[in-house]
């Protein structure tokens, strides 16, 4: 293991030019790239441009931003939306959860008008969703209108885990009852990575 390059906030990392770009955990000021975190410097090559990043070694402090894929747990259902708590952003587990709301029209990509919330989600379900632009100050609008998004972990009415059997159905592993869900197509290998 090579010795890591450690930096602290405000440390000047390198000059900002055509071959160096400021990435995560850094900021630009007056032609230089500075670190904004205490952590380890990481240089990623992207199409010939070196993206300078700083990785925090502890748990990262993040708030959801537009476009993030988040893991959330459904709490309340209504006719028009379901409320959930956001527990992870990408691979990062949050130590404080944030409120999310998933509207009926954002559940599926197709057949928007025929979607019914209770046929897609139930309280307790763990879902993958994408963060929409922020309009209200304290609630994040979420969307699952993509194949890869939707329920990933759910329990049947009897309290046993279920497995997906189609795009819209899951089956209880114990009682073999079928329930309706908007199922996420689980990408094998590391399903939580940011796309």
């Amino acid at each position: 293991m090579t010795k890591p390059l450690i930096c602290v906030p405000g440390q000047r990392l390198c000059i900002l030019d055509k071959t160096h770009e400021s990435g995560q955990g850094t900021y630009e000021r007056q032609g230089y790239i500075y670190s904004s975190l205490a952590g380890v410097v990481d240089v990623v090559d992207k199409d010939g441009v070196k993206v300078v990043e700083v990785q925090s070694t502890g748990e990262q402090t993040l708030v959801p931003t537009q476009g993030d894929i988040v893991t959330a747990q459904v709490t309340i259902l209504t006719q028009d939306f379901c409320k959930c708590v956001i527990k992870c952003i990408g691979n990062t587990v949050l130590s404080r959860t944030y409120r999310g709301i998933l509207r009926r029209e954002d559940v599926c990509a197709t057949d928007k008008d025929r979607v019914q919330i209770y046929k897609s989600y139930r309280p307790g379900d763990v879902i993958l969703a994408r963060v929409l632009p922020i309009t209200e100050a304290h609630t994040y609008n979420l969307s699952t209108a993509e194949n890869e998004l939707g329920v990933v972990i759910a329990h049947s009415e009897h309290g046993y885990p279920m497995v997906p059997i189609s795009w819209t159905q899951m089956q209880c592993t114990k009682m073999y009852t079928k329930e309706l869900r908007k199922v996420a197509k689980v990408v094998p290998e590391n399903m939580n990575t940011k796309t």
Binding site: C88, V93, L94, S95
Partner: protein, 278 residues
């Protein structure tokens, strides 16, 4: 993935550990966390102590002030102890007035100190009906990782044992108080109540739980003993507990109490060595 799983299904995560007879922090189910006691760290206080149980950290500072006694109890002083759980110590607490937990803990600790008779308020009297000591014991939690009552009781007792009061001369005729700070007296502590907390999780009893364990447990139990005798039991609701299990807990507490009391006495004696004039 373990972290994600823990965040989404904490109970299941914990059950999986317990099925292997081990806790996420590597302890056995009935194992206590290490206790560290540090005394006299605050020079501005008349008595102080710091206690760590695992990661739980509490500090207690005692300030002595002078005041007239209550008319109905003319020869008794005051011991006012308050437990603060500031937002600093855990994200569970919000700024503002004390949380319910802080109020409950304050009350419990205050009652226990008065009822156990570990301190005699008459010792705090200087001149009957005129002047008594008022000891303000402020216990502040710096890091809340479970078993707050245990830590508070331990830190309060230790701090009380380090209190040094100056000699006061009082001339009632002209209301003149003279303080001689060169001679300082200890306080008499008649016994040392100590406590341990248990958490109930499904059919198991978990000793000395952390905050996470307290949160997923179905109930808590605090046993207070002094001189190998049961002093108080605090079981605020939660799932029921069989008599047999309760006895087990009491016995375990009695055994653990010896260790804690030895620890207090070692810490305090070190201080006394420094302070020969006591």
């Amino acid at each position: 993935m373990a972290k994600q799983f823990k965040s989404l299904h904490p109970t299941k995560f914990y059950r999986d550990y317990l099925n292997q007879d081990i806790r996420p922090d590597g302890r056995l189910v009935s194992k206590f966390r290490p206790v560290i006691i540090n005394i006299g760290s605050i020079a501005t206080a008349d008595g102080s102590a710091l206690v760590r149980i695992g990661k739980t950290t509490v500090i207690c500072g005692i300030k002595a002030e002078l005041c007239p006694p209550k008319p109905e109890k003319p020869n008794e002083g005051f011991l006012i102890c308050n437990v603060e759980l500031p937002p600093l110590c855990s994200s569970k607490f919000r700024p503002g007035p004390p949380s319910d937990l802080a109020q409950i803990t304050t009350r419990f600790v205050a009652d226990l100190i008065l009822n156990s008779g570990c301190i005699n308020l008459k010792d705090l009297c200087i001149v009957k009906e005129k002047l008594v000591w008022c000891l303000y014991a402020d216990i502040i939690c710096l890091d809340h990782d479970g078993c707050i009552i245990d830590a508070c009781l331990l830190v309060l007792l230790t701090a009380l044992k380090t209190v040094r009061l100056p000699v006061v001369q009082y001339d009632a005729a002209i209301d003149k108080k003279t303080i001689d700070a060169s001679v300082k007296k200890c306080l008499n502590i008649y016994n040392t109540p100590v406590s341990t907390t248990y958490a109930m999780f499904e059919d198991k009893i978990i000793t000395d739980p952390t905050t996470e364990e307290e949160e997923i447990s179905s109930g808590l139990l605090t046993v207070v003993v002094k001189d190998k005798e049961l002093c108080s039991i605090h079981k605020p609701g939660g799932s029921p507990l069989s008599e047999e299990k309760l006895y087990e807990c009491i016995n375990e507490t009695v055994n653990h109490a010896d260790l804690l009391i030895t620890l207090i006495n070692t810490a305090v004696s070190e201080c006394n060595d420094d302070n020969k004039n006591c």
